[in-house]
């Protein structure tokens, strides 16, 4: 226990932040303001990988690390689409995930948002459209926001969520 406490004390609060972290602070505050206003304080995200190479997932995971810690802005990831406001989809939509994606989307309550996250989700990316892929999320379900990047960084993801929150109405 002593060692843990010492480590926590030594680590301190992560405030002497590199420039990127300032940006996450500003983005986060703005997102939080809109989430408070429009969604009653919390944005629940259901993430679905529809055939990504897993790089997108690594960066989405990073949103939870202590540098970003997006839970403090009212954003959290949920296990069920029924609890989600936002579907965050990665990958070119493999045809083997096509029906699973559609069912996940159908299970969400209205109003619901969809972000196609990463180049593959936007337009198929490196994989394009072929016998095994649909070539982008909008070919399968309606998309509110396309967020390019290979993969989108945590800051890109926050910018995307902010841009979505600023849009008028979900589809």
């Amino acid at each position: 226990m002593q060692k843990i406490l010492r480590k926590i004390w030594q680590t301190g609060t992560l405030t002497e932040a590199p420039p990127a972290a300032d940006e996450i602070e500003a983005l986060g505050k703005e997102v939080k303001r809109i989430i408070d206003q429009r969604l009653g304080g919390s944005l629940a995200i259901r993430q679905v990988d529809t055939g990504s190479c897993n790089a997108c997932e690594l960066e989405i995971h990073a949103l939870g690390n202590p540098y970003y810690d997006i839970a403090r802005f009212g954003i959290h990831f949920v296990a069920s689409p029924r609890h989600a406001d936002l579907l965050l989809v990665t990958g070119p939509v493999s045809r083997h995930m096509e029906t699973a994606l559609r069912r996940t989307w159908r299970a969400m309550a209205n109003p619901r948002f969809v972000i196609a996250s990463g180049d593959c989700a936007c337009n198929g990316g490196e994989f394009g459209s072929n016998y095994a892929t649909c070539g982008g999320v909008s070919r399968v379900i309606p998309v509110d926001l396309h967020l390019p990047g290979c993969p989108p960084t945590p800051n890109d993801l926050m910018r995307g969520i902010l841009a979505l929150m600023r849009k008028e109405q979900p589809q």
């Binding site: 990504s52 190479c53 997932e57 995971h61 990073a62 069920s80 994989f127």
Partner: protein, 528 residues
């Protein structure tokens, strides 16, 4: 000890079993050695290899006009032996290697689903990679199959896959996935359990199949490198390196020494980043949030270092055919040196804390136990193999540049549990830090790439590298126009997934996440 000391002995054993070697070729896929066999002898050759204790390390097929070339990789004493044969496209029938090498199971089923090779006496006739996106009697990798596919209709869910079931009093089934509760790749797990205990686990992958082998065809060298970088995002460096090495061997391109050093630097940075994430993840799966947060912090710092030095957090697309595409920035030493010393110091602190926690030990020790025999049988490499007594590391045992000029240390443990797999990762981070130090001390000057030759005709190459997950093999064949005619990257996940299905047996269902994390397979790397 010289390379392939053992080969004459193996060839003599094959002769005893009346296996006909049509051609013995040390050049074609050098430094691997090729034995061209008669198709009739395919199974017997595997039986001899299995009895000799060789490791089975991969399989692919390649359509050559009206014939299919079939290649299987065997490893012994750090040497790679490729068995190859040909079967007619009209009747592609071949004996299965699975009865002798359980590791061959899913790769043979994959090859059947994509190229239509009919493996006789394969113990499991079920499909593997194919779901419902193309019909049973159609094979996407054949040259007459259009890359865009031939059925524009929506692919239905694959609900009819015949999972094996255990029947009995109190036995129940838990289906999980493909859409999981967390942020992970899609796959399906079917548990048979009684009470809390797992009696059987069967995984079903293929959900992220995106036609990588098919869309590789016709690409140029740099296009293939980009694609290889997306076979498995967390192993982007390792897969790109393997594909580029295969292409460079095919084209006879010599990569400048500085580029090789930079590639190794990238590979070690990738290894460290992933191991940092996994150590945190394993601890998180047993509720030790402190370590998860701390390692999340270290990983983020490391990724920012990657960005500052190489221009990409995950190091994508830095390796290109012929070298690397960017040199170190001017201030690189002032970035990397403090990073190395900080990480090394922090690891000392944190690993001591991990060691100190008997409650953590209680969850990790003896959990997800994989015996050395099973690990060997399944051909597992990387941290899963190394934690179960498989003392093999491509960098050390099949030395490729620049590792052949450095003394590479590789950890090995015999406990075979989650704790051992965590410890191997910690050992590997330390070894990688050490390697990075030596790499930057001995960094050669000079160019970072050579131009890709204009004329690369009908040639092929096989490369093997040690990715952070274990041994990756990559095969590339160019056609007469210098375009890619065949690409097959074999991720270590092909072998660690069956290991996961075994090591979870007898554990309680709630320990599955930590067992899974300790193996951390790449679904994308396996599904292709």
């Amino acid at each position: 000890m010289n390379r392939f000391d053992w080969l004459p002995g193996f060839i003599a054993l094959l002769a005893e079993e009346r296996v006909t070697i049509l051609h013995s070729d040390p050049i074609r896929l050098a430094p691997a050695h090729c034995l061209h066999l008669d198709a009739e002898d395919w199974g017997r050759a595997a039986r001899v290899a299995s009895a000799s204790g060789y490791r089975w390390a991969g399989l692919w097929g390649d359509q050559l006009g009206e014939r299919l070339g079939i290649y299987a990789v065997l490893v012994h004493e750090g040497d790679y032996l490729v068995l190859m044969t040909e079967v007619p496209l009209q009747a592609p029938i071949l004996a299965s290697h699975t009865p002798y090498f359980p590791a061959a199971d899913r790769l043979e089923r994959h090859l059947h689903d994509l190229l239509g090779v009919d493996f006789q006496d394969h113990p499991d006739a079920r499909r593997w990679t194919r779901h419902c996106a193309w019909p049973e009697d159609v094979y996407p990798l054949r040259s007459d199959f259009p890359v865009g596919g031939d059925s524009p209709k929506r692919a239905p869910a694959d609900v009819d896959y015949p999972f094996e079931r255990i029947l009995g009093n109190g036995v129940y089934e838990i289906p999980v996935g493909p859409v999981h509760a967390g942020i992970i790749e899609p796959g399906h797990f079917r548990f048979q359990a009684v009470g809390e205990q797992v009696l059987r686990l069967e995984a079903r992958l293929g959900y992220t199949h995106k036609g990588i082998e098919k869309i590789a065809v016709g690409r140029d060298a740099s296009g293939l490198a980009r694609l290889a970088g997306r076979v498995s995002g967390d192993s982007t460096v390792a897969h790109t390196w393997a594909a580029c090495m295969a292409m460079e061997r095919a084209a006879g391109v010599d990569v400048p020494p500085r580029a090789l050093h930079l590639r190794a630097l990238l590979a070690e940075c990738e290894r460290i980043a992933n191991h940092l994430g996994d150590i945190g993840g394993i601890c998180n799966d047993v509720g030790f949030a402190f370590v998860h947060q701390q390692f999340g912090r270290l990983r983020e710092q490391w990724l920012r270092g990657n960005l500052a030095i190489f221009g990409h957090r995950l190091l994508m697309d830095v390796i290109v055919p012929g070298g690397v595409c960017r040199d170190l920035p001017e201030q690189w030493e002032s970035i990397i040196k403090p990073q190395l010393s900080t990480l090394s110091r922090e690891l000392d602190d944190l690993l001591a804390i991990i060691d100190d926690h008997s409650s953590l030990e209680d969850r990790l020790v003896d959990t997800g136990f994989l015996t050395a025999e099973r690990a060997q049988m399944l051909g597992v490499t990387g941290y899963v193999g190394k934690a179960s007594g498989q003392d093999f590391d491509v960098r050390r045992d099949h030395g490729y540049a620049p590792y052949d000029g450095l003394e590479v240390h590789s950890p090995c443990r015999t406990q075979g549990d989650v704790a051992a797999r965590l410890q191997i990762r910690a050992d590997e981070i330390r070894d990688s830090l050490n390697l990075i130090n030596r790499l930057i001390q001995s960094l050669p000057a000079g160019p970072i790439a050579v131009d890709w030759p204009q004329s690369v005709y009908s040639s092929e190459g096989l490369a093997v590298v040690e990715g952070w997950r274990g041994e990756i093999t990559s095969f590339v064949r160019f056609d007469e126009d210098g375009r890619v005619a065949r690409f097959f990257p074999r991720d270590p996940s092909w072998f660690s997934l069956p290991a996961l299905e075994h090591l979870v047996l007898g554990n309680i269902v709630p320990d599955f996440p930590v067992c899974n994390k300790s193996v951390n397979i790449s679904y994308s790397g396996q599904d292709l």
